[in-house]
Amino acid sequence: MATRTLRILFNNALVVVVSLIVFTPVYLVFINALKTKAQASSMGVDLPTSLQWKNFEIVIERGGLVTTFGNSVLYAVAATLICTTLAALAAYVLSRNRTRLNRSIYLLIIAGIAMPTNFVTLTKVMQLTHLINTQLGIIVLYAASHIPLNVFLIYAFIGSLPRELDEAAIMDGCSPLRLFASVIYPLLTPVLVTASVLNLLDFWNEFLLPLYYLNRSVYWPMTEAIYNFFGQYQSDWSLVSADIVLTILPVIIIYLVAQRFIFSGWTAGAVKG
């Protein structure tokens, strides 16, 4: 009995320690965002002696965060809408009409989950299409980058929708587009929410594509902006922390609100079969 209690205690302690290790860096950045420059210089775990809320004001102004926040929202939301819609349309037909050609297309698309991007020659494509250094260009790239994962997730889900639905709608004289829009699309809501949340988080966090294809700072999303801000203000950890907090707060909120979709989405894909 005693060893059992001891073991339970040990297991709990272990998980608590791991959770603390995970949580401390996040705590650190929130706490230091509210300190004075002098107190934040060592980025310690001590509480702020006085709350410097104006750090956020300074960062928003000097970092141009209103613009970059707007950019990040625009890129993430627009790319998510484009990507999930196109992927849903494609996954639906690929799943329902499994001709030889469609099966090959499906395999070709999901192979993209593994493929690396050739950023060098992609520059050439971006120049040819005049999309380089444009906001439309970065939205298109974000959307294209997640087509494979989205097709994969939605395709698996469509397999679980009974075909009788389609047949009934066709009998009623629905056009393919009507059938998709008014019968199938609403039923896809669970997987579309999951895919959208995953997309939003990934697009918000994306750093590499803008690094290659957006050289104008007015178009930067928050990730590039924060990197640049750090370059200028690395001696002032209170400001850098405030900038980090403002960058990660949106994803933390999305995460806490939508965690069950995140957990269900990834695991459904990985565990099935």
């Binding site: 297309i105 494509v125 994803v251």
Partner: protein, 295 residues
Amino acid sequence: MEKSRMRDRVYPFYFIVGALILYLFFFVLPSVMGFFYALTDWNSYSSQVNYVGLDNFELILFSGHGYLQYISNTVVFTVVTIIVKTVIALGLALLLTQRVRRLAPLYRVVIYLPSVLPMLAVGLIFKSILNPATGLLNTFLRGAGLGFLAQQWLVDPSWAMPSVIGVDTWKGVGYIMVILIAGIEAIPSEYFEAAAIDGAGGGKILRHITLPMLMPVLTVTTVLNLLYGLKVFDIIFVLTHGGPGHATDTVYTAIFDEFSKGRWGIATALSSLLFLVMIGLGYLVIRLMNREEEG
């Protein structure tokens, strides 16, 4: 025949076109173009592009210019993160599903949290934590009387890669853990009950039931870690920029470096090499992700 025409009408091909064009044009086309440009001296200094055969590949693989080090750094990063993340994530998943179930959802939310944060922000936070003089880690070690463990984390060439791997594990372990938890929960409970009736202990159950049943999921997490590791960029770019020296330079940081220097032919050749390796792995992914079809 009639039936397939009917199907083509109800499920028209043009539904696929949007996604397919985006994918082909922005991802497949550059990869294909890459194989041609990899055979040229394409660069920013001259508008002429000349065919140079396999020179770029020779330079990368046999010239001793350090490219092999970037490749081996990438392999080391990938292999070590796969092992470390899998072992820790598996341990945590077992704890949360079988030992400390009461607060498990709360722990899960905390441990997964870093996975949703931008790597850029994570990197900056850890730049401060790993600062040799003022960082929290060394301060903590000295305070706990473990000062001899304090290192020049990101500055010392032999500690830079382990430090980067440590930060990457901090960020990525929760993600793997969540997938493994789902895998463990998907194992029918009758197996565990039957084993318990037969008097099997925790160790035996783990070895003969949990691990074998979890193998498919472990394969998936390994592939995910593998794909991530080979393409690693953000964490290295923000923490060390590939340094000190080239101690943490990987294929993706090297490509960016060559790209910035305007040596596009070599950058493309590096990218194409990685593509060849990963297309092989891509085949593996298809086999894995497509199990439902065949099974």
